[in-house]
Symmetry: C2
Subunit: 353 residues, 2 copies
């Protein structure tokens, strides 16, 4: 991005996005939570999954695909395990609420597992992790979208499931380790962005309809279309395929709703688990191990001239610190995509620093 | 393997391995469990992690690195969460016992999570999965060996952790899905076998001390040595690295014992979780989703002439059926490696079919 790109204070972007969602009918306290987590994603540098999604969310609030108001339904609750039907309320808000409950329950039971069916999209998983790690809890969060297929099973070129993100937040005595990966070689967001620009991906992360690896998003528009490759690609993609299946089982099997129901609404099956190290070997013993490992990895030998090893989350936390201090540079087309909504909903545009 | 390779009945191999462990001082009912799970691994075709490990286990029983008798210690027990100190008893036996307890606890609490510190090696993770899936339960099982380092963090060539296997058993209405992957591009067992034969690996799954991908096990003997690559390799290895870290947190952080303690004993940190779909959306709803996904994946389009997609476990279950019917062909050097023990311990060698 050009260095003269305007910067916006996190508080100002929170205010702006809160106003947009509230004006679109979301109760203000929920709007503030959704806004905060989208801006958190931008602050961490996950710029396909922050305010970039705001216009689509507003579209869906208007069409009713995302419910602005209403409540989720508790399908099951055994204390350590909970299932909700999300009624296609904001997945960001639902996930935030589930984490709040999960943290309480994990303190009581040692672990808490919550799965949500029929949630709307839940955006950037990494943004949720500090909600648990800040309290000394480990969190695992996964989602899939049963209305979308983008990734092919190993050996096939026909899309059958989503990239299926898996995020894990791990406390240490200092910065947490924040993992946010998918079971596919690349993401739908990045592929769509490169396709929009007419550019190739940085690696052969797609498969064409002849079963060949490709870096060209055009293979997804062929007849028959290709697909995203599972993590591991043509060589070791049985492993990414296996991870994707695990996440399907957790996010569709556990809540008892998914692809087999043929949903057409943009949405998510959500699985989250929070674990309290105090119920196991103790938080100090836990962070002694995780901190030691992080130090060992950061100090591992690298080839001459190469950058030192970074732990997952190191980059995101550094970007977030920078954003907190100096504001966020938004990805170029984001405010443009929101301009019609800003006008229609009568919201004050964000003022740059 | 040559087609005239002798075949052994599963019951006969169980008898033989039970006799060996019992003669080495393991209580007979424990010896039978260890034997059965090693032979199960061979039956599934995981032939580096079945009876191939028997001679090493007998060595360790003799040296005392594996405790033949004695009890594990309960470090913590909150019902849904349990921690044991395994006292370096057989990891196969400990894991089997933990799964029995975990299945009971999962029925009561919805999920049960058990972590074990200071277990001895736990062999092939896939072999344990049917113990839970046969009861309609989902199981996740992971381990790491804090006394060994073989895999480099992403960006480095210096080994800092183990391949860190992750196995997941998922019930369907028919055959279960049996996942057994590692967070590394290949395994130590396969690499050692290829090195012993003076052969190259089938892919560039190692990294040399210049940071280049390699298929030559000799890079592990260089000065300084290279390492196994994380899943995803030089391209997407940040994802495999992330998975490895997650497994380290679960297997060392949770039980509160691991690399930071500098253990030298061959052993394992073990993490297992059993989840009862009945506590979530119900077993029928669960298997409806998982079975539908399996059918969709098996039927996914493949390039002309290619084999259909296999679900994880399809191959292992087919091999197990074949072994049950026609006996097991053991990997060539296995009985040879056990011959000195057979004689020393006065055990009757296995009789082939």
């Amino acid at each position: 991005m050009p260095s003269d790109q305007p910067r916006y204070a996190i508080t100002e972007l929170n205010r702006y996005a809160t106003d947009l969602f509230a004006a679109a009918g979301v109760p203000p306290e929920r709007a503030a939570i959704v806004a905060q987590l989208l801006v958190e994603a931008d602050a961490m540098g996950h710029d396909t999954h922050g305010l970039n999604l705001c216009a689509q969310y507003l579209d869906h609030l208007q069409s009713g695909e995302m419910a602005a108001r209403g409540e989720f339904t508790v399908i099951a609750d055994r204390g350590a395990t909970v299932v909700w039907d999300g009624s296609y309320l904001s997945g960001v808000w639902l996930t935030h609420q589930a984490i709040q409950l999960g943290c309480q329950r994990a303190k009581a039971f040692g672990t808490a597992t919550i799965s949500i069916r029929r949630s709307h999209h839940i955006t950037c998983l990494a943004a949720f992790l500090p909600l648990a790690t800040d309290r000394g809890l480990m969190i695992t969060l996964a989602s899939s979208d049963p209305s979308v297929a983008a990734v092919a099973p190993f050996g096939s070129y026909e899309a059958k499931f989503t990239p299926n993100p898996l995020a894990v937040g791990i406390p240490t005595a200092t910065d947490p380790i924040l993992i946010d990966i998918s079971a596919s070689a690349t993401t739908m967001g990045l592929t769509a962005r490169m396709e929009g620009r007419g550019e190739k991906l940085a690696g052969d992360w797609l498969v064409d309809n002849q079963g060949r690896a490709s870096n060209d998003p055009a293979v997804l528009e062929a007849d028959p279309p290709g697909a995203l490759l599972a993590l591991g690609g043509l060589d070791r993609g049985h492993k990414g395929f296996a991870l994707a299946i695990m996440i399907e089982a957790l996010t569709s099997g556990m809540p008892g709703y998914g692809r087999a129901n043929g949903p057409t609404n943009w949405g998510a099956g959500v699985y989250l688990q929070i674990t309290d190290p105090e119920a196991f070997g103790g938080l100090d013993a836990f962070t002694h191990q995780t901190g030691w490992l992080a130090d060992q990895c950061r100090g591992a030998a690298v080839p001459g001239g190469a950058a030192p090893v970074r732990m997952p989350g190191d980059g995101a936390l550094a970007r977030r610190r920078e954003a907190t201090e100096n504001g966020i540079k938004l990805y170029p087309n984001i405010l443009e995509s929101l301009a019609p909504w800003t006008e229609r909903l009568g919201v004050i545009p964000p003022v740059c620093l």
